[in-house]
Amino acid sequence: MLSTMGYRIIDSHAHIGPYFNFFIPFNNAKDMLKTMDLSGIEATVISSNAAISSDVIMGNKYTLETVKTYPGRFLGHFMFNPNYAEEMKRYVPEYFKNDGIIGFKIHPELSGDYPMPGKGYRYMWEYSNKHRIPVLFHTYFGGDRLEVIEAVAKDYPDSPMLIGHGGSDLGIEKTVDLVNKYPNLYYDMCSPCNKKYGAIKLVAKECNPDKVLFGTDTPWNDPDLSVGAILLSEVEDSIKRKWFSENFFRLYKRASKMLVP
């Protein structure tokens, strides 16, 4: 089978649960595990859809419960909603006592177009910078520009930052240049860039291979499309291994408590 071509695949960008804006089939943990098995994905890092778009307290709890119920298969991103910065501060230390919570997720778009350098995010950046906890942030056409991302990366040099969706709407070439320039910036090879023929070629050719992590955005996306496009690409095997899991273990050091690197 394609899914057993010898690669170890960790999905570092995914979600779980229903979403208000449209119907998502098979969005619960058991069904997603089946999907992961079919697609050959060993473990998936989730932030619940409830956390990113609804009640963040309830949503983070959903993430944590899933992580605890399926250790080693699901890992968690703590969704930091800057609109509730004070409440978030109370929860962050508590959540990071759990080995399965391995990073932050922020979604400026679904947090009301909240700017990344805004006051509400400050505590999170400082915490991430102090403890070197990765932050995966969503990007989109209407969000913060690459210049803003660059400024944040400079302000928090010990905070590892994953540019969500490979900055697809910001210009993949420019995003790759930025990732190559700053040691704490990483490229999130998550939909749509990991399904696009030219984007895969471009990232393989231009981006530091040690700074690209694989993600699927499941269940918003079908992981087979993302897994298949990269597995069946002409990208060198050694680079595929880095994208699929080796870089993940280097970046998400907390994950080694849950998975054998």
């Binding site: 089978m1 394609l2 899914s3 071509m5 804006n21 449209f22 119907f23 998502i24 089939p25 098979f26 969005n27 069904d31 997603m32 089946k34 999907t35 079919l38 697609s39 050959g40 993949i172 070439e173 939909s191 860039c193 399904k195 696009k196 023929y197 030219g198 984007a199 895969i200 070629k201 471009l202 050719k205 499941t218 269940p219 918003w220 996306n221 079908d222 992981p223 087979d224 499309l225 993302s226 897994v227 298949g228 496009a229 990269i230 597995l231 069946l232 690409s233 002409e234 095997d237």
Partner: protein, 276 residues
């Protein structure tokens, strides 16, 4: 390297990619890539894709009659590549009557016709000709008579949806006309399922079903005969199309239908696409 046994399993599914685009577009794919015949053939061979239904980008981005002719000239006798023409359903634009158009399709071995009716200004709601029976009726009637598949793309913005009523009307007016939708329906599963239940002449290209297991979900509701593999290469990767079908939680027979046999059946290349 792709393992030989994997390639062999892919080959056995006999993929026919419904949407491969040839020619130099105004905006190339990421990295400046666009696709000529040789690029398509090389990638298809590398990944075990048997056939592709092509169209020329100038048919869409310049003038249908020009691009359609150019496609014929460029493909020549290449048996792996099949021909689809873009139609603006108007005699003035196409330079022929509907019946003459049908004759041309047969003479040139054209397997399907594509419609890109959306206007540049607002693809979700606005069309560059009136997408109604009084405008397209004569051509659609001729196509229906010969059961020529019509591949319909509105190309709305990625978070928008095509106007459902336009699709519903076309499918209602011409119930024997096979209509294959190629837009992205990530956010529209419920509407799409209901529409396809109501209109059995509607089919969907697989890469429009991007949600997790959306393909399997819809096959469960509607059967495998309604789904057609298609990549939109060179924008998207052929591997994405292949893996979505190959790794699906479906039976081998269902996968084979979706991979290529449904399309071949609709295009009259094989009889009886078969169903389980």
């Amino acid at each position: 390297m792709i393992k030989q046994e994997v390639l062999e399993e892919i080959r056995q599914l006999e993929f026919l990619d419904l949407s491969v685009i040839l020619g130099r577009p105004g905006v190339p794919s990421t990295g400046g890539f666009y696709c000529e015949k040789e690029n398509a053939l090389e990638e298809m061979k590398r990944l075990g894709v048997k056939n592709a239904l092509t169209y020329h980008i100038t048919s869409k981005g310049y003038k249908p009659v020009y691009g359609n002719k150019r496609l014929i000239a460029e493909i020549g006798e290449t048996k792996e590549l099949l021909i689809s023409w873009i139609l603006i359903p108007d005699e003035e634009e196409m330079g022929c009557t509907p019946s003459q158009f049908i004759i041309k399709l047969k003479e040139n071995n054209v397997k399907a016709v594509r419609l890109f009716p959306a206007s540049q200004s607002n693809a979700s709601v606005s069309t560059r000709y009136s997408f109604t029976k009084w405008f397209y009726g004569d051509f659609m009637e001729a196509l229906e008579k010969d059961k020529v598949p019509v591949i319909l793309s509105f190309n709305p913005h990625r978070r928008a949806e095509p106007e459902w009523d336009k699709i519903f009307s076309l499918a209602s007016e011409y119930p024997d006309l096979p209509i294959i939708l190629t837009d992205v329906f990530t956010r529209a599963t419920l509407s799409l399922v209901k529409l396809m239940k109501l209109k059995p002449n509607i089919y969907v290209q697989t890469t429009g079903l991007c949600l997790q297991r959306q393909l399997e979900f819809m096959v469960d509701k509607l059967g495998p005969e309604r789904f057609i593999a298609g990549s939109n290469y060179p924008d998207m990767h052929l591997g994405a199309m292949i893996a979505q079908v190959y790794l699906a939680n479906l039976t081998y027979k269902q996968k084979k239908l979706i991979a290529g046999d449904n399309a071949r059946c609709l295009m009259g290349i094989i009889k009886n696409g078969g169903s389980e």
